[in-house]
């Protein structure tokens, strides 16, 4: 091990190869701080060449590793349990922006919002907008197939990635491109997007940039029951309107945001609010706005107000996007979930979730992409309180069971990571899990990249044959 540290230090410089316990503490967690695993060492290459050299050195040493972007993930996906943490945050060069073809090629450590900022002079932006976009990286977005409020209309990361240069865990470099009608092939890029760091490391990523909409109209609808807000959500989509975003926040979330520096002017006595944005060409937009207002009112909205200018729109969105962080005001830890359910069943599912919360005496804060049916039930709690932690865990398990039982899935955008590993077996039959293992083997036969994540290792047949199987 000291030998490997020396080799890695030679590649990246001593400052960027951390081996001492104190300095590894900060890398023991992602944005889900209840889960901590200390890496054996952390290495942070500064260039693409250094990254390739690091991966090759790790291959030569037979050492498993975990790629990490900004550590803003919410599924414990970037935890490195006594293996090497490969930090990509230094690779933050925007290599090219091509306004003609509306594409950009970036290094994996480029911050999501930084790309949109750089594209702004060309009237373009990068559409997938996870709430952590001011901090998270494009590489991390690629690994998690990240979503965001505006993915309702514009699609998730997968729909915006055109190509990637990938270092496979054995050090080989491959170019993955989205197949087109002219060059039909298996969609290996599609397989790579969302592989949660288990298939290799992307060192450059080409993404699609989206023209900024001509007009944007943002509305805040205020409901005295969460049930009404859920029904309004279904009704808006059922009416054939495709909003750019359709987000729901409940009373607990509203109160946390309103007491923060990101206070957006949400009504603090509301049981729920819907943040609805429609965009596009001026023609027809007014009809959509009018329809959204009418539907919300018909479903019982007390009031629907519109952002009067870009500043107010920005405030309404900042409140929504920082809501997760604002929940730190309620308790020192936060259990974050991410499940997708059929949108038509939102109202009954929210009611049953509330019942689960009451029964386990935990406080569920809902803030989620209602238009996608992508739930984020969050439970603020104190991990130091064993009884409370147990109740939170029991409530979350029941909620996930509920989502699976109505035909939903266990993650919409946060990934499986380590946090949701246990749900995979409830979600998929053994053959499916084994098929996933075999897909992984095509990229990483030794299973050294992000070991132990996504698919429970005991579900992989022939697992014991793999050298990286100790985790």
């Amino acid at each position: 091990m000291p030998e490997l540290a020396t080799t890695l230090s030679h590649i990246v410089g001593t400052r960027y190869c951390l081996t001492r316990a104190t300095e590894l503490l900060a890398y023991a967690t992602d944005a889900l701080p209840g889960n901590r695993r200390r890496p054996r060492l952390a290495v942070m290459p500064g260039t693409r060449d250094e990254t390739v050299a690091v991966v090759r050195a790790l291959y030569a040493a037979g050492m498993p590793f975990v790629p990490r972007g900004a550590g803003t993930g919410l599924s414990g996906g970037a935890l490195a349990d006594n293996v090497v943490l490969l930090g990509l945050q230094r690779l933050r060069q925007i290599i090219t922006i091509d306004p003609e073809s509306r594409t950009a090629t970036v290094e994996p450590g480029v911050v999501n919002a930084a790309l949109s900022k750089a594209a702004l002079p060309f009237g373009l932006h990068y559409a997938p907008d996870p709430s952590s976009q001011t901090a998270c990286t494009i590489g991390g977005n690629l690994a998690e197939n990240a979503g965001g409020p505006h993915c309702l209309k514009y699609g998730v990361t997968l729909n915006h990635v055109l190509a990637a240069t990938v270092v496979l865990p054995n050090g080989e470099i491959v170019s993955l491109t989205a197949p087109s009608e002219e060059t039909p092939a298996y969609d290996l890029l599609g397989a790579f997007v969302g592989s949660e760091g288990c298939f290799g490391v992307a060192i450059d990523i080409t993404v699609r940039l989206t023209p900024n909409p001509e007009h944007v109209h943002t509305m805040l609808a205020d409901f005295s029951s969460i049930d009404d807000a859920a029904r309004a959500t279904s009704a808006i989509i059922a009416a054939g309107i495709l909003p750019a975003a359709l987000e729901l926040m409940d009373a607990a979330t509203i109160q946390a945001v309103e007491s923060s520096i990101y206070a957006a002017g949400y009504p603090i006595d509301a049981a729920a609010v819907l943040l609805v944005e429609v965009d596009g060409a001026a023609d027809g937009l007014d009809d959509d706005v009018e329809a959204v207002v009418r539907i919300c009112r018909a479903c019982g909205a007390r009031m629907v107000r519109s952002a009067s200018d870009a500043i107010e729109r920005g405030r309404l969105w900042q409140g929504r996007k920082k809501a997760f962080g604002a929940m730190g005001r309620l308790a020192p830890h936060l259990a974050v979930q991410d499940a997708v359910v059929p949108r038509s069943q939102l109202a009954p599912i929210l009611a049953r979730m509330a019942e689960i919360g009451t029964r386990h005496n935990v406080r569920i804060c809902n803030v989620f992409h209602a238009g996608d049916g992508n739930l984020h039930p969050n439970i603020p709690y104190d991990a130091g309180n064993a009884d409370e932690s147990a109740r939170v865990h029991a409530a979350m398990s029941e909620i996930m069971e509920l989502c699976i039982s109505v035909g939903g899935t266990i993650t919409g955008e946060h990934g499986v990571g380590s946090d949701k590993l246990a749900y995979m077996e409830r979600m998929f039959p053994g053959d499916s899990l084994d098929a996933m293992c075999r897909l992984r083997d095509a990229f990483d036969p030794e299973r050294r990249a992000n070991p132990g994540k996504v698919v429970p290792s005991h579900r992989c047949k022939e697992w014991h044959a793999a050298p990286g199987a100790h985790t």
């Binding site: 960027y16 300095e23 503490l25 890398y27 944005a31 005001r329 130091g384």
Partner: protein, 415 residues
């Protein structure tokens, strides 16, 4: 919701951090060094581990990463959870200084600032040395010596005599904190401050017995001395009977507004500190309330850009008043400054004890100023005035750093 375990944490406020990472891009040292140990949430991990005893207080890695924090508090403005980062840092540095002497430069400065007569002599010596023209000549010498000389040279101003204004005092009574560096090196800015307050209807009263605000001591971890200085100031300004305590130094203002935090465990002084803090105003706040009275244009109608001092923007949340002050001057072209909310790397005496990193943080600031094309950078804090002033001079830029108030006083004088 119970929060028993968190209540036991000896680091008050740390439990608010949920490690979301929204602070990362707001941190100048994270952007410069790319290591989470040099980021707000990474440092909070270290602070918690120190407080819990999981790492020893003499751990060199923990100390290095915590020492490297500028204390700019840009992370507080980015934090949705309201983590009181500045207070966590001061609590931690207090913990760390027990048993470890500060660097000699820091110790010397803190020693001098806490002793009024010695401070007076040192400042007099500095002014004499500045008058020889030597600092200006040595300002381009490479390295720290040259930078220190450039900082001193940047404080030089022609002495102005202001016509006596006849204040009606209708806006209330004000006692001004003289400030160590302000009265010592930026004397003319203090005179300008008096003049603009007079013109805008404030009645000045003296606060005898006032001392250094103690901000530098608190930031460095010498909380005991910071508290002693705070008590002396609270007593002195109480005795003055003034409605408002005015300062033209953002760092001093942030510290004084938060005296009640510093003295939170002192039952005798805590409430007095809170009452005192509620009366503290940055000079731009007092002027903005008063209008301020409009002025003619500055000579040459220069283009001006504004750089927000961290302890005004992040520490006091005072963002609009300095712009209101600048807008009072006719024909003043105000150019926006990219990343004006980012630290300039001055951070009290940080630029003297962490010179390399300070330079790294200053570099993008100078680039943005150059790109703005402004002739004057307005900023309301002595540290920032010297840091940016020295940086501009050493990079050969014709631009200068000025306090908004001295610009306003100059415009009043000309009109």
């Amino acid at each position: 919701m119970t929060r028993t375990a968190a209540d036991l944490l000896p680091l008050r406020g740390a439990e608010l951090c949920v490690h979301c990472g929204f602070c990362l891009q707001a941190c100048p040292t994270y952007l410069a060094l790319d290591d989470e140990n040099d980021s707000p949430r990474g440092r909070i991990v270290l602070m918690k581990a120190l407080a819990e005893g999981a790492i020893a207080s003499n751990d060199p890695d923990a100390r290095r990463h915590l020492d490297r924090c500028l204390g700019c508090r840009g992370c507080e403005t980015a934090c949705p959870s309201g983590v009181p980062y500045g207070q966590l840092l001061e609590q931690t540095r207090e913990r760390l200084t027990t048993g470890r002497p500060l660097p000699l430069v820091a110790r010397t400065i803190l020693f001098v600032f806490a002793r009024p007569r010695l401070l007076g002599m040192v400042m007099f010596g500095a002014r004499m040395f500045r008058a020889t023209g030597m600092p200006a000549l040595l300002a381009r010498v490479p390295g720290r010596l040259g930078f220190a000389m450039a900082m001193l040279a940047s404080t030089a101003r022609p002495q102005r005599a202001y016509p006596a204004a006849d204040p009606d005092g209708g806006r209330g009574t004000v006692a001004i904190l003289d400030g160590c560096v302000m009265e010592g090196l930026f004397t003319s800015i203090n005179r300008a401050t008096e003049h603009v307050l007079d013109v805008n209807g404030y009645l000045r009263v003296a606060a005898h017995g006032q001392r250094c605000c103690g901000a530098l001591h608190a930031h460095a971890g010498d909380a005991a001395l910071a508290r002693a200085l705070a008590r002396a100031n609270i007593a002195a300004f109480e005795k003055s009977g003034a409605q408002f305590v005015c300062t033209n130094s953002a760092g001093c203002g942030a510290a004084m507004k938060e005296y009640s935090q510093l003295l939170r465990d002192d039952p005798e002084w805590h409430n007095r500190a809170a009452a005192f803090g509620a009366r503290v105003r940055d000079v731009s706040e007092l002027l903005a309330v008063a209008g301020p009275r409009t002025a003619g244009s500055l000579p040459g109608a220069p283009t001006v850009t504004y750089d927000a001092p961290c302890h005004l923007q992040h520490g006091q949340h005072v963002t609009i008043p300095p712009l209101t002050v600048l807008a009072a001057m006719s024909q003043l072209t105000l150019i926006p400054l990219t990343d004006s909310d980012q630290c300039c790397g001055s951070a009290g005496i940080y630029n003297l004890i962490e010179p390399e990193l300070s330079d790294q943080v200053l570099a993008p600031k100078l680039a943005h100023i150059a790109a703005s094309g402004a002739a004057i950078v307005a900023t309301g804090n002595p540290g920032c005035l010297m840091q940016i002033g020295a940086g501009l001079a050493r990079s050969g830029s014709p631009a200068t750093a000025r306090h908004p108030v001295e610009l306003l006083a100059e415009a009043y004088r000309k009109s």
